[in-house]
Amino acid sequence: MTDALALHRVSRRFGTVEALHEVDLRFEPGQVHAVLGENGAGKTTAIRLLAGLDQPDSGTVQLGDTPIRLRSRDAAIRRGIGLIPQTGSLIGELTLVENLALTQPRRWLRRRHTGAALAAAAESTGVVVDLVTPVQKLGRAQQQLGELALAIAQGARILLLDEPTSVLDAAEIHGLHLRLRAFAASGIAVVLITHRLSEVRAIADTATVLSRGRVSWSGAIGDADDVTLARAMVGVLPTTVPPARPAIADAAEAVLSLDGAWARTDDLAPIKDIHLQVRPGEIVAVIGTAGSGQRALAETAAGVITLKRGTRTAAGTVAYVPEDRMDALLPGLSLKWSAALLRLREPRFARFGMLRNNEVSAFARDLFTRFDVRPPDPDLPAAALSGGNAQKLVMGRELESAPTIAVLHAATQGLDLRAANGIRTLILATAAAGTAVLLLSADHEEARALADRVLVLREGRITGEYTAAEYDHAVHRIVDDRPDEGGRAC
């Protein structure tokens, strides 16, 4: 039997920010334990401490009831602590077997032995995964299963998964959940970091909610309803009424249309023969996971890359929020320039041709307040913003000038409830004001909540088109197929 892994009264501070304050966490073997929290609540810090990537300022990491010191990732691996980070940790050019060989402490390895160990681990856990293909040629879901098999082959008895479902589609999420339940049944402690309540409901036994570096709720998942958990995460949620949107006239002329569009970017996922139209005031969602050509489609629609074949017509100004927010910021300049970027040509920002820094700062400060960007310091380097705040800034900057067309890629990905709500309200309000919105997302919930029409993108082609109501049914069908309890879409 494995011992429980725990944090005992752990504090960790970065500069002036207290990321964790006297936090107690305990993960029992054989259970799926969810760690919930907003962006910046301290989830990732806690996981890094447990995985040996960081050391606490005070308090201890405990295995069973013995305090242990994890000086490095290797030390944690030897203790049986496996980590599946959010962005993937495998080396794309190598196969899974080679990736495992890389992590072995011994200098001399026999490929056959390593391969056999990995195959055994995969088989014992029922993971079906290709061991001999370079990792980058596997799908994202396969890569993730591969990482799981790798962790098991390293002897992991505790699995830490950081936001594992953020890049998977509904069927893949379902598969992963089944796998995690099976791990738990075999006596492994599964720890799931997430900010999706529905996911917690679907597979977790127990949960701990972190809020601003403290534990705000802890217990068995059956004891709490969604409102309790949400409140523990963010405090009292303001009830938002979605802004009323005028109906879109069928006769309205599309302002953005792609006709037989073929294009590719550098991510090896081209789009093929895409036809789509977006009318003023309409929100069209394109659902697809990483590798389905979403980025190529977004950049094509936004006019960043040129088409190989086909035509694109766009009337008026085009706002674009790329998937990687940093692409839309100026990392080397202070934040105010990123904030005022689109309006820099306005006369108020210059006198005798020279820029007025004070005006730009004032504009930036105003934008930060309106879109809750923290810290609201216009002179900070843009690279210092956290992901969520960068997203709020880019979204606010792009949408506040009422563009004709808005192309939004992964609009709320990685945002906490409060911020995501804010962004969704902003998108609805923007569409209500007459902007044609093209939303690219991997998140069914988001598409359902926002879109008038939903297109499904698979391997670069549009394979399905639904109205909002039809899509509701389609998603429920996927969810109803689930054998496990809970049964809600993620």
Binding site: L333, L341, L344, F349, M354, A383
Partner: protein, 355 residues
């Protein structure tokens, strides 16, 4: 300790790092002087004497700094846009060739008020055209502008050598290849001061003022944005073609103008050594001055004083070789490059830590 730490982490950090690097650089030079049995105080005194000790020396230093400052000013838009322009040496030569060709043509005999602008325009044109050799392939095929810029320098040197042996050779004939003397109306008048200061200094001073204005202008900021992200610059209506060709042409024009000042001012005729390394030294000045106009002037004067001052060192401390000036220039460049690398790495690390 606390204050130093606070200072080191604060907004003044880049300045602190730069200062430390430059001080470290001078320490290395002091070691070199000591290693050659020189006396440091004597060397410094000699350097000050040689660079600024007499009105004549001061004028020489300023005269030497003038083309450096001009080239550095001209290259700063390109450097801000992220285009590394290293072709100034060749552009000085082609600017000088065209300016000299116009001056020894009948146009050069016109009154000075016409002949001088014609010569200046020739220099500007010659430099700007030559700067397109690296710029167009960079824009069209993404050819590395550093490599093609350096190649273009060799082309210019060989072109000059060819012309000085053939069509532009002084008809009066000399054993060394050189061009004909420029007619008087085409020569830039000397200022009524000791030394060999020409009116070109006034032109460069005016350009420094323009540079100070431009440095804070919207156009300059848009070029910064271009260096960070071409897509975002495109949303401010700056196309890669305009950014790359425009800034490179400005750098070429400035270098060509410097070429005109050399041929029509100091030298009075086209010679094989018309550029004499000022293209490269000008680029060093731009890097030292971090593409800002006032620091560029200071850096230009320092670089020039290292050349003029080394004669003074020789005078007072015969054991120390005159090439100590060149050594100092090299060490200084290394120190500044290090300071830049350090501050940038720190900025990147600070950004990553807050992620």
């Amino acid at each position: 300790m606390l204050t130093i730490r606070g200072l080191a982490a604060g907004p003044l950090r880049p300045y602190l790092v730069s200062t430390l690097c430059v001080v470290g650089g001078f320490a290395v030079v002091a070691l070199v002087v000591a290693a050659t049995d020189g006396d440091l105080t004597v060397a410094v005194t000699g350097w000050m004497h040689g660079a600024f000790g007499t009105p004549y020396a001061t004028a020489q230093t300023i005269a030497y700094a003038t083309p450096l400052v001009l080239i550095a000013l001209g290259s700063s838009p390109a450097l801000r846009a992220g285009v590394i322009v290293v072709g100034a040496e060749g552009q000085v030569i082609t600017g000088a060739i065209l300016a000299a060709a116009l001056a020894i043509s009948p146009l050069g005999e016109l009154p000075a008020i016409v002949a001088l602008p014609i010569g200046a325009a020739g220099g500007i044109l010659g430099g700007a055209v030559w700067s397109m050799i690296p710029a167009v392939p960079l824009l069209r095929w993404r050819v590395n502008e550093i490599l093609s810029g350096l190649m273009a320098n060799y082309l210019a040197i060989q072109l000059l050598a060819y012309l000085l042996r053939t069509s532009m050779r002084d008809p009066e004939g000399h054993s060394t290849p050189r061009g004909a003397d420029l007619p008087d109306p085409s020569r830039i008048p000397f200022l009524p001061l000791p030394g060999r200061l020409t009116a070109g200094v006034v032109v460069v001073l005016a350009l420094v003022v323009v540079g100070i204005w431009w440095h804070r202008s919207r156009a300059a900021r848009v070029l910064d944005i271009f260096a960070e992200s071409r897509w975002l610059a495109g949303r401010l209506d700056l196309s890669p073609a305009r950014a790359i060709l425009g800034t490179t042409a400005v750098s070429g024009a400035a270098a060509g103008l410097a070429g005109w000042m050399q041929v029509a001012g100091v030298d009075g005729r086209l010679t094989p050594g018309v550029a004499g390394g000022i293209g490269f030294t000008g680029l060093v000045v731009a890097v030292l001055g971090r593409s800002r106009p006032v620091p560029i002037v200071v850096a230009g004067l320092i670089m020039a004083s290292l050349t003029t001052g080394s004669n003074g060192i020789q005078l007072l401390s015969p054991g120390t070789p005159a090439s100590i000036g060149a050594v100092t220039q090299g060490v200084l460049l290394l120190a500044v490059a290090m300071a830049l690398a350090l501050t940038q790495r720190n900025r990147a690390r600070r950004g990553a830590a807050d992620d």
